[in-house]
């Protein structure tokens, strides 16, 4: 079974399955942009580190507002399609308890050319951190804390511009 392009899941992320899903997805309803046109695949995996801000991390627990998170991923997909029409994108985010070394997020971009594949992949992780309703609860040696990042506002054009800037787009 081909997995969804945009997914929140409690099970281990499968990068290869996501790559297959993205590379066989058409970028346009006409079927244009299928794998014949794939010349470059960029992927990103976020992994639970054993150390954060000098603390020894024991595990993370991710929580998501699932229906909105999936829509946020699709919104990022639409932003990517607007900027890079030939790009196909997939985002899978894991929630629940994650141990050190496990992957929390997998992003795949397929493109005819490498420049866009890299930029769109980088843009996507920046946007996920800005607008995906996902939270992480860090359990470290001696305590635990909810990590709070950005106030999620998909309409904040300045944040979007910053994500493009970081993607070198």
């Amino acid at each position: 079974m081909v997995p969804s392009l945009f997914l929140i899941t409690t099970v281990e992320l499968n990068l290869i399955a996501l790559m297959d899903a993205v590379s066989t997805a058409a970028s346009k309803p006409s079927g244009e942009g299928k794998s014949l046109q794939t010349g470059a695949i960029s992927t990103f995996l976020g992994v639970v580190r054993g150390e954060n801000l000098g603390r020894r991390v024991l595990r993370l627990e991710y929580e998501a507002y699932e229906p909105l998170a999936v829509r946020a991923f699709a919104r990022i997909g639409a932003e990517v399609a607007e900027r890079w029409p030939a790009i196909r994108l997939g985002i899978h985010h894991r929630i629940g308890r994650l141990e050190v070394g496990q992957a929390s997020v997998a992003i795949v971009t397929c493109s005819p050319h490498r420049v866009d594949a890299f930029a769109a992949c980088r843009y996507s992780i920046e946007r996920i951190k800005q607008i995906a309703p996902i939270w992480k609860h860090e359990f470290f040696e001696g305590g635990d804390v909810w990590i709070e990042g950005a106030t999620a506002d998909p309409h904040d054009e300045e944040a979007k511009a910053e994500a493009f800037r970081r993607a070198c787009a």
Binding site: L68, S104, I125, K129, P133, W146, E148, A152, D153, P154
Partner: protein, 85 residues
């Protein structure tokens, strides 16, 4: 009107529940619902500046007027993606 309220992460910890129901009068906005919650859970107040909200699983401004049966989510600052900056 009956509104379902979802609370996430620290907000859930403060309220002690990730899902509660509230009765509110017609014309209530997301902001009014939030202020109403603060009355019962003063610990929420610090999130007033950094809060996002959603109505029926779509991001919504705080001045949106609610309808009976709406599901409102209050979202503290997000931190998805990888494990560290």
């Amino acid at each position: 009107m009956r509104i379902k309220v979802y609370l996430f992460a620290r907000l859930c910890d403060i309220v002690g529940n990730n899902e509660i129901e509230r009765e509110v009068p017609i014309g209530t906005t997301v902001r009014m619902l939030w202020d109403n919650l603060i009355t019962d859970f003063p610990g929420l107040e610090v999130y007033g500046e950094s809060l996002s909200s959603a109505v029926n699983a779509e991001y919504a401004r705080m001045d949106v007027v609610l309808n009976d049966g709406d599901e409102v989510a209050f979202l503290p600052p997000v931190s998805g993606g990888q494990s560290a900056m």
